[in-house]
Amino acid sequence: MSNKAFLLGDRAVYIAFIVIVLGLPLLVDDVFWLNRVARYLVFGMLGIAMALSWGYAGILNLGQGLFFGVGAYMVAMSLKLQSWTSMQQGSDTPVPDFMLWNAQPGAPTDLCCIVPGSWLWIPFQAQWFGIFMAIALPVVLALIIGATIFRLRVSGVYVAIITLALVLLTRLIFIDAQPITNGFNGLTDLGWLTVGGIEFDPLMVGTYYIVAVSVCIVLLLTRWLVSTRAGLILQSTRDDANRARYLGYDVASYQIFFFTVSAAIAGFAGLLFVIVSEFATPTYFDIAFSISMVVWAAVGGRSSLIGAAIGAILINTIEATVSESEMFQQAWRLIIGVLFVLIVLYMPRGLAGLARDLLARLVALGRGKQADSAKASRNPAE
């Protein structure tokens, strides 16, 4: 019986989330603030991707920043070529300013050969190509990585270590390819996204809506995905991979598929983040950033998609509010550390788990039963 209450409660949270996210511009007319919220919504999307791979698939990907960063760089390359500075380098075609600083004297000011490897930028003159690659490249990379890892039946901690090493490897590659990626400084001074003649200024309500609608769609799509047959089989591979294998399921295929979906969401989040923040730097490939995503998901609830999203948004909003002074910002990081240890120790299901327990108690109280009988009947999936 209490299953019905959970379903209702769950639905109520989703509806409330979507209504708040989409209705926010009606209440807030400060565009700077909206821009900030849009960034946190992007992080919420990363929380969803993390809950999908960690909570539902049991794959702890400590290198999610790899897909986010690659997605961000792909679209940033296109937007960089559209920026005003790239147009003003004295050639017919746009050339990023930092390439001129790196060019050999006498090199032609053209993408074909200004610095070694700059030809890679040529197709990015079309904005759609950058947007396409922001999703396609993470997908291809995830397919290759996932196929290698899961076909060889690497599991558990080793997946975490391999993905961690991969994101560090990517970071080094992007820093080392300084002439074409601008190294440590990354791609800054970007142009605006232009669709159908409309320029999407990051400080614009329309840009906020691009992010807000995307987050809602991704949330509903992943929710639908985990409720499909494939999603259920995936959860069985998480609980007992060998049993799923004995039952005849090709465990690796399910793992690869959901690993790739998670990567695609992360790539999409990278795309959106560049549109609202106007830069792409190698810090996206830092371990700290990738592990932050795990923290968000853990705080919100690793096995709840919306919980992870809310966890990400909540932590970042609080962080932004308290970080007005340098000292409080540092204290906040200390609090996050303590909170994280406590959550792993005592509340492994995060805020979502807490909400479910509370709901169970309410239902039990409403029926005049003892709270502990509801506890016993609560979903033991986690």
């Binding site: 290698t148 090493a165 991969l166 590659i173 080392d176 592990i291």
Partner: protein, 297 residues
């Protein structure tokens, strides 16, 4: 040629120092301690602070750092890790939280910043440990330039490795640790106090991290985030070498250190690290249990 090998050798010894403690805690207890790097950092700060307030030189700082880090490790084991045995991924996450806490405590000078009190040697800035000049002055011996500090690191590493080997393979406590490594339930059934031995093992591994911190402080700047960079390297060494294998850890530190040294001389540091990561990923995919792991039933 000799110079390149020597650079590789000193990189190896630093890697080994960091990996040695990790190998013990990960191998014996199945704990992925992400705060290991922060214990290295604490060791480095112990050296800096004891230099400022007690006038300790590097030789006196080494045992002090060992003690500090070991006690801290004991505390971490008691408060956090003890509750998480058998949940390996959760140990990774919880110790990541511990790592953040330790970093912030140093940055915030144990919270004293809030009261406007500054402690010299702490805080978010960079610190420097003073190394005696006779360890820094390179000298020539038989036509080869010898870097005394690097030589010193290599010697200390050899000493600690031998000591660890002796403890693990020639003492009764070592037998108990190795029994726990293979099968904790069976070890407990044989009358080994698994909790006590695990706690001591963890403290010893943490103490080794503290010593690594002192030695690192001699040629790198000491800062709150110095630990985060070394812990990953340490893990890669342990995983490549094979969990719980001392010999494996030594050889894999040698392999990765030399690889890093040679490639960084031929190309550059960034490419060298990238090559090391690529090789490590390949090895984990090829042999997930590491190069030198024992067969467990």
């Amino acid at each position: 040629m000799f110079e390149t090998l020597f650079i590789g050798l000193s990189l190896t010894s630093v890697l080994l120092l960091i990996a040695l403690g990790l190998s013990i805690t990960y191998g014996a207890m199945g704990v992925i301690n992400m705060a290991h790097g922060e214990l290295v950092m604490i060791g480095a700060y112990t050296a800096v602070l004891s230099g400022i307030y007690l006038g300790f030189n590097i030789f006196a700082a080494i045992p002090l750092a060992f003690l500090t880090a070991a006690l801290l490790g004991l505390l971490i084991e008691r408060v956090v890790i003890r509750k998480l045995y058998g949940r390996i991924i959760d140990t990774l996450l919880a110790t990541w939280g511990v790592a953040i806490i330790l970093q912030q405590l140093i940055r915030l000078e144990f919270g004293m910043t809030f009261f406007g009190i500054r402690i010299q040697g702490l805080g978010p800035g960079l610190q420097q440990m003073r190394v005696p000049s006779y360890l820094m002055q390179p000298y020539e011996f038989a036509g080869i330039m010898i870097q005394p500090y690097r030589t010193f690191i290599i010697l200390v590493t050899i000493l600690l490795t031998v000591l660890t080997w002796f403890l693990m393979y020639r003492t009764s406590i070592g037998v108990q640790v190795r029994a726990i490594m293979r099968n904790p339930q069976m070890a407990a059934a044989c009358g080994i106090d698994v909790r006590r031995v695990s706690a001591m093992t963890f403290a010893y591994g943490s103490g080794l991290a503290g010593i690594a911190g002192v030695l690192l402080a001699g040629f790198r700047t000491v800062m709150p985030e110095m630990g985060a960079n070394v812990v990953v390297d340490g893990f890669l060494v342990v995983v490549v070498g094979g969990v719980g294998s001392l010999l494996g850890t030594v050889l894999s530190a040698g392999l990765l250190g030399q690889l890093n040294g040679i490639v960084s001389v031929v190309y550059n540091d960034i490419i060298a690290r990238a090559v090391v990561f690529a090789v490590v990923i390949g090895i984990i995919l090829w042999r997930p249990n590491g190069l030198f792991s024992f067969k467990s039933r």
